[in-house]
Symmetry: C2
Subunit: 551 residues, 2 copies
């Protein structure tokens, strides 16, 4: 029997190769791994988030066997509501906590009926057509994360998922080294491995390593302790509430997403937080300051988050006061540095004792560093090595690690989204490109937010807009009224009326003169006159709309 | 004789307290220290840079004795052309290299006749009215930097300037420890000290510490070496060209600002780069790849810089090719991280071997870390300690260091721009506020770019604009033509004409109905109708302009 090719298709994400979605195909049947969103960079004005390009999947509905989700972070599940605009009745496979969080997401988006969520515990195996899937536990910054071993007639491939090798995780559940070692005996054709921290030497510290810093903060805190972190960082919430209990502080959780995650994690047994230790915000505000820990979102300085609003004094329920210890238990995600720094400055201004990672180790990364990457390669012993999950710079640097480990250069592939790889008879090669552009989402609109609009907005943002409305005589092209001038984002201040008046006079003069030449290019000419006039007066180049009406 | 008060007035800068400008006053006579610009953060769309608020100085021309510039970085000299819009005939005092760079700046701005630049070598003393100024050398990331000791009848104050204690600077000219120790014996009333790195423990590595990494890069480079850094980082250029010569590479400097600085520094003896080692770009491109070092600007990923254009393949003179070693010898300034990362990704894509600080130590900070701050306090022994040069977070953290060193808390002042401090009979107190808002500069316009305009632009950027022009019957308010719809940055794509048509019909319908009620609020009502319609159709909230004309 002729062996078919196994196809790898990385999709999605702003520069993040395969982070948000990867597809594997065999005999024209496909499995999808993860479906997440990416957040825009600062230059992408007005874009809410970015989802993977789903063109490749469109029309393949009956050929897609299932969607496997490795863990419940936004950049791995956030695109699911959009996926079900394109696909119907494709089942999801995920571990219990991941499944629970997906359910919440899809219910909110009204898409729960579009799929069936199948719960598979880490360690379980199942078949999707000719794909045999083995799941195995990997430690990461959210519990119940998994990696995947996928056996196909073309060979066995291993997907690391987002991972680090935390030797002492908060939930005492380390990565499944035994499984990884066992996979290493089975001739792994290719390893697809998380590249996020490939530029960092050594190993990522354990979640437990930051306990010491937390203890120090709780020992020294004279008043309330208010801590923001990621809503999905269940292990951090576990850690902080355990320490809070030891220091006789009740725990108050603020913010819908965090409350939802905590309740789900408690219900499923991923979080040990007895009810008698939890108080409402109302109750917390009436307790002595020394008996309270408030946990909330907003560690990235998001203006509408609880911490964002606390820092600007705009949170309705309470305010930061002198004596508060306020901690941001996270690092700024690249692009958020300025925003986070502004929050820190404002909290200092309010008199808080502010704690963040530049001062004290109150956050660790959830991703493997170089030594862990080497360990993974040594365990899995792949024929081919394909760095994924990272920007190109991270992929290249994990590729270097692969080379250092003795994998021949021609068996290491650095590819970008849309560049497929085919495996056949144990050999890999670059194959065709599939569409993999960024799909920008603004509001609830998918796709019709495109680069054109973004560039138009950039231009508006850069210099504003000016609209000139002209009422003209149909026959002679003379003005029958004074030109009307509206502008926005262009100028303000005392001299503005004068500039407007001068511009009006300039246009009237031109229209008077022009009459003699009888040109038809009045719109274009006046646009140029306005552009020149505004540039000379203000050194700006707004978008100029000339709007003539003929009577 | 009654002793007057000595007044300290920190001005200027986006959150950077006193970085860009500080003023000291005594008996209604003033001296200015530095006059720089700050670059906007990513949220300040369309702002080119920010200058200090000069309201306090306006009308005081004949009371300002001089402007002392501590070093030639943009954030300390860049505001001078604007200062001379407000002041005339106020002399500048600066060290030779600083004076040379100021001269170039002012000549370019056509402001050279507005002032006299007085050259004072580090170590020289001079009087400005009752202010006696002693200058002393401090190491920083540009040669010829100074700190100041200023004696007034109200006491002796010390200004650190931007500094680090580099024990092995490239120019072999360490900080003037003897002078600092001597000041420590003279009852220093107050120390104004650089806070930039107050969150970093230890000491900042020496410029010479990165020699090893540079050697490694040059030893391993197979083809051309192309390095970008700050145009003013003369010591880095010295270091790199010395190593290049050792490796038999000719040196090619590209970009006006870097060429200007190199020529000036060579002429004044701050850079040792024999002419026979320098080649033009034309010559460099004809030399064997192994014999070339190209130095250029753009280490912050600026799109119009040489490195920015090289990374997008838009530099006219040459292109990056496989085998090139490309180094960014700098760290991203906060806010530039995404842009720099994009440049790195693009350079990898072009096949270059990319070297940057996450991989190899190819840059060190120019500012003191915590241990150096402690040393400065131990040397100068001030009565009062006033952290400056940093965001509030950095000031608070240097204040903590002051406390740790035994300075009583009530003798440490953390103030923001505009909050003055007065010294009288050896005691300091907070005094009045003076205007110190951010003055935004866009193009060549100062000040009339204000927060209003910025917010209007933000709104335009966020959702675009739609203009509805209506021709109405004066008496009955009926439409005499179909409404005209123009939009920008709002929507594009196939369904756009349909949406426009629906909106047009909705407006026509409303105008037909409205006739019967005869309301006059047509503009407001239609604005609301359009807003609602657009929100329902696109989930966006553009700026809506309704523009009615009556006939």
């Amino acid at each position: 029997m002729k062996q078919e090719e196994l196809q790898f298709i990385p999709l999605g994400g702003l520069g993040e190769v395969g982070r948000n979605m990867m597809v594997f195909g065999y005999e024209d049947r496909y499995i999808i791994i993860d479906c997440g969103v990416q957040f825009p960079d600062n230059s992408m004005i007005g874009v809410d988030y970015i989802i993977p390009d789903m063109q490749f999947l469109q029309g393949k509905e009956d050929k897609i066997l299932g969607i496997i989700i490795t863990h419940a972070h936004e950049d791995h599940i956030g695109g699911l509501p959009h996926l079900f605009d394109v696909l119907n009745n494709v089942p999801i496979y995920a571990t219990p906590l991941t499944a629970g969080m997906i359910e919440v997401r899809l219910a909110r988006a009204g898409k729960l009926t579009k799929t069936k969520i199948n719960v598979k515990k880490a360690g379980e195996e199942f078949d999707l057509g000719k794909f045999h899937i083995e799941t195995f536990h990997m430690t990461h910054s959210i519990p119940d994360s998994i990696g995947l071993a996928i056996t196909t007639p073309a060979g066995l491939i291993v997907v690391s998922g987002d991972y680090k090798f935390d030797p002492t995780p908060i939930d005492n559940w380390p990565s499944d080294f035994a499984k990884l070692a066992e996979l290493g005996t089975r001739n792994v054709l290719a390893l697809f491995s998380d590249s996020t921290n490939s530029e960092r030497p050594g190993t990522t510290p354990s979640e437990k390593d930051i306990n010491k810093a937390f203890e120090e903060v709780f020992v020294n805190a004279r008043g309330r302790v208010i801590i923001s972190s990621f809503a999905s960082l269940i292990s951090r919430l576990q850690q902080l509430s355990t320490i809070a209990r030891r220091h006789h502080r009740k725990i108050c959780i603020v913010g819908t997403s965090m409350v939802d995650n905590v309740n789900l994690a408690k219900r499923l047994g991923y979080l040990d937080l007895p009810d008698e230790w939890v108080v409402t915000l109302e109750e917390a505000l009436h307790l002595p300051d020394k008996e309270v820990l408030i946990l909330c979102t907003g560690s990235q300085g998001e203006p509408t988050s609880i911490m964002g609003r606390l820092s600007t004094g705009k949170y309705y329920a309470f305010s930061i006061k002198e004596g508060d210890t306020v901690m941001l238990s996270s690092n700024p995600i690249p692009g958020n540095e300025e925003r986070v720094s502004a929050v820190i400055n404002r909290l200092y201004r309010m008199g808080a004792n502010v704690i963040y990672n530049s001062l004290l180790s109150v956050h660790v990364s959830g991703h493997a560093c170089q030594e862990e990457m080497k360990l993974l390669i040594n365990l899995v012993k792949p024929e081919y090595f394909i760095p994924v999950h990272g920007e190109l710079r991270h992929l290249y640097n994990q590729a270097k690690i692969g080379e250092l480990m003795g994998i021949p250069k021609n068996r290491i592939f650095v590819v970008e989204n849309g560049q497929t790889i085919k495996f056949h008879h144990g050999k890999a090669r670059l194959a065709e490109q599939v569409p993999a552009s960024m799909v920008l989402v603004d509001g609830t609109n998918v796709g019709d937010m495109n680069l054109d609009i973004m560039h138009q907005r950039e231009r508006l943002a850069d210099s504003g807009v000016i609209v000139i409305t002209l009422m003209l005589d149909k026959d002679h092209h003379g003005l029958i009224r004074d030109p009307q001038i509206i502008h926005y984002g262009l100028m303000s201040g005392k001299e503005t009326p004068d500039i407007e008046e001068d511009l009006r006079r300039t246009i009237i003069e031109y229209c008077g003169k022009k009459n003699s030449t009888g040109t038809n290019n009045i719109e274009k000419n006046i646009e140029q006159i306005v552009r020149k006039f505004i540039y000379n007066t203000t050194h700006r180049s707004p978008w100029v709309i000339v709007n003539p009406f003929y009577f």
